[in-house]
Amino acid sequence: MTPEAIRRLKRRYAAERRFKAYGIAAMTFAAAALLLLLVTVVGNGYTAFWQTQLRIEVFFDPDAIAPAGTTDRRRLMGADYRTVLLDAVSARFPEVRDRDGLRQLEGLVGSGAEVQLRDMVVADPGLIGQRRQVWLLAHSDIDMLIKGQTRLGDGARVTERQAGWLTALARGGDVDQFFNTRFFTGADSRDPELVGILGGVVGTTFTLLICLLLAFPLGVMAAVYLEEYAPKNRLTDIIEVNINNLAAVPSIVFGLLGLSVFINFFGMPRSAPLVGGSVLALMSLPTIIIAARAALRAVPPSIREGALGVGASKMQMIGHHVLPLAMPGILTGTIIAMAHALGETAPLLMIGMVAFITDIPTDPLSASTVLPVQIFMWADHPERGFVEKTSAGIIVLLVFMLVMNASAVWLRRKFERRW
């Protein structure tokens, strides 16, 4: 080899190595970004799964709640638990008598504890008139202090005096952290110690189910027609261009469409997952159609000819041979479309799903919100306790997405067919 050729060869090898290095660098960057995201979110959010509680003796005063033996639910629900709660806390610290001190005592337990007492009595009216040691939810400000997310000092939301009482309680083993079950069984609330994500999870499940049930069959049928039946002419060209354009329309536009068509014209209820799912289905359709067409096109023509050759009708050819072979590709497109729909908030704003809803939805027609909206709204609250709840919500959203994608991948594996 001439020295000239050797130099050229060296240059080519060097270029090759550089090319590979770029690829590795890109992958490392992506992995690092993902890792950073996960570490921040989990680091900020895992504390939300535990909750500070204070053990205090509560006297379920019949004068404040209802005479013993009452089972009238409405009466039990509407009773004055605030007084019961405040009596219990001030009985624990009898030396505090000044007005300001009592107010600060009040601040140890929030409205969370009030709701807790109400739920206890409603579940078991026999408690009325009794004394019980109860683990009460601490006020979110106390919770934040115990978790080290706020500090004591000038301007702090927890006073030195309150901190002193907490130390006294802790000495008796009356301060502890418990697993926050309410976060997984409740719906939205304005008190950080009471919020739950289940409302968002159920709402998201309904919305995505509706979306899948509408978009998947419609998308596949449209793709089958366009690929297998439609003649190639100007009209189908226009349709094709429009489908591609539709995939690029900003999602808020679909929300406006949903508002005018589903809510104003058809009169469907606001905030319902049925409407949300329909809007998201419109948004996902182009993605599914495009993916399904690509998957159908990838099925070799020999399969079609073979099927027709042994006497299958066109419908049998598509149903028995082409679609099953294209199914993994179609499912991949559907996964992408669904994952996209899972993260949307913009189209849901106009149809009333960006809302405060304290009930867990029971069906696709009841008012509900979805996970990303829930996270978005918690992020906007001023209370410090919502910072960790926001991250915890993101963790739940990520887990939801993983479960959804894993099941889709499993389905795809199951139907995958090689030849």
Partner: protein, 355 residues
């Protein structure tokens, strides 16, 4: 492998069910259907307060918690004014008073009877990290620090100021760096209206501009050279960046966010006035706006609990000096105003605006 005809049959059945569910809700059927839950829509600034009242109201166990949508004041009033009937919201949340033109739209759509309640004020603060030496800025100084064009030697030029003491030698030698909300935010609108436009009023060079549109632009445009930073709609983001940043960096956001973060942040004085409750409620603190709730009288008695909800909202335990909204960062009105509004609510006095 899957049997496609079966799959198709299942899918078709599913679609049929969904479509049937949709068809069952034809306008006539749905509109007649009574609603047993209050619906409110509107400003994201009022949202934290209306939701707190909604939850407290539902704790009694007598009514379900109202649904509160956070879609912005304009969109909320538009939905509210679309008509009478359960398909439209019962309550509108607004971080400003309803305008005469909105009121007229309402009337044209049959929403003639509206009850108005002022719930209190929301202050806008300029905050710095705790430990920064005390700063006092006048609105004119803020305008000179943040406007895109300012007068230098009698000429309007691109804002050349990099430090506050260049504007006035009495101010500290701190670099101008202010984080605030983007133009899509209601907080930004209020800031521009209450601080920037007021701040440029008495500047001779601006008054010399004869073209009203040009003058308005000079007064409202924020500088775009990186000294005013649009930090996103989310006020918590500004708080976090202030805490993590250097001292002397300022942030513009709503009062309730300062209230929750007083262990890390403090407000600067504006025109020499501190951001206390008394100063905001009396109007001495210059950067505050009133917040309102509007209720359709026609829905009272139709949607269960609407009247009770309104009474709860106006009650002393909600919007009073020690009310639960006040502990969430609402700045209460003075006592006489609260009493006056409460009387108006009890009498269901109707709103009238313009012609």
């Amino acid at each position: 492998m899957i049997r496609i005809p079966q799959l198709a049959a299942v899918a078709a059945a599913a679609v049929a069910v969904v479509v049937a569910a949709g068809a069952a809700l034809t306008p006539s059927a749905e509109a007649q259907q009574a609603r047993n839950q209050i619906r409110a829509a509107g400003s994201s600034t009022v949202y934290p307060f209306t939701t707190a009242v909604a939850e407290q109201f539902a704790r009694g166990g007598q009514f379900r918690a109202p649904i509160v949508e956070s879609i912005g004041t304009g969109a909320g009033i538009r939905a509210f004014c679309q008509g009478v009937g359960v398909a439209h919201p019962d309550v509108a949340n607004a971080s400003r008073r309803m305008s005469a033109s909105e009121f007229n739209t309402c009337r044209q759509n049959g929403v003639t009877e509206i009850v108005e309640l002022q719930i209190g004020f929301d202050g806008i603060v300029i905050a710095v990290k705790k430990g920064t030496p005390p700063i006092n800025l006048t609105r004119q100084q803020i305008w000179r620090g943040l406007a895109r064009e300012v007068p230098v030697n009698g000429q309007l030029v691109r804002n050349p100021h990099t430090h506050w003491n260049q504007i006035d030698p009495s101010l500290p030698n701190i670099a101008i760096e202010v984080m605030g909300p983007p133009p899509t935010s209601g907080t930004r609108d209020s800031f521009v209206e209450l601080v920037m436009q007021e701040g440029c009023k008495d500047v001779a060079e601006v008054r010399a501009v004869t073209d009203a549109r040009r003058r308005n632009e000079v007064c409202s445009a924020m500088r775009e050279d990186g000294r005013f930073i649009e930090a996103g709609e989310n006020d918590n983001l500004i708080v976090q960046r202030l805490v993590a940043g250097q001292s002397g960096v300022m942030g513009i956001f709503g009062y309730s966010f300062l209230d929750q973060n007083r262990d890390r942040l403090e407000a600067i004085r504006i025109d020499g006035v501190e951001d206390s409750f008394e100063n905001i409620a009396s109007g001495r603190y210059p950067v505050s706006r009133a917040m309102f709730v509007y209720v359709k009288k026609a829905h009272i008695g139709v949607v269960p609990g609407l009247r009770e909800f309104l009474v709860e909202y106006a009650s002393e335990r909600a919007i009073g000096d020690r009310g639960y909204l006040t502990s969430r960062g609402l700045v209460p009105m003075v006592r006489e105003d609260r009493t006056r509004w409460r009387q108006q609510i009890e009498a269901l006095q109707l709103l009238s605006l313009g012609s």
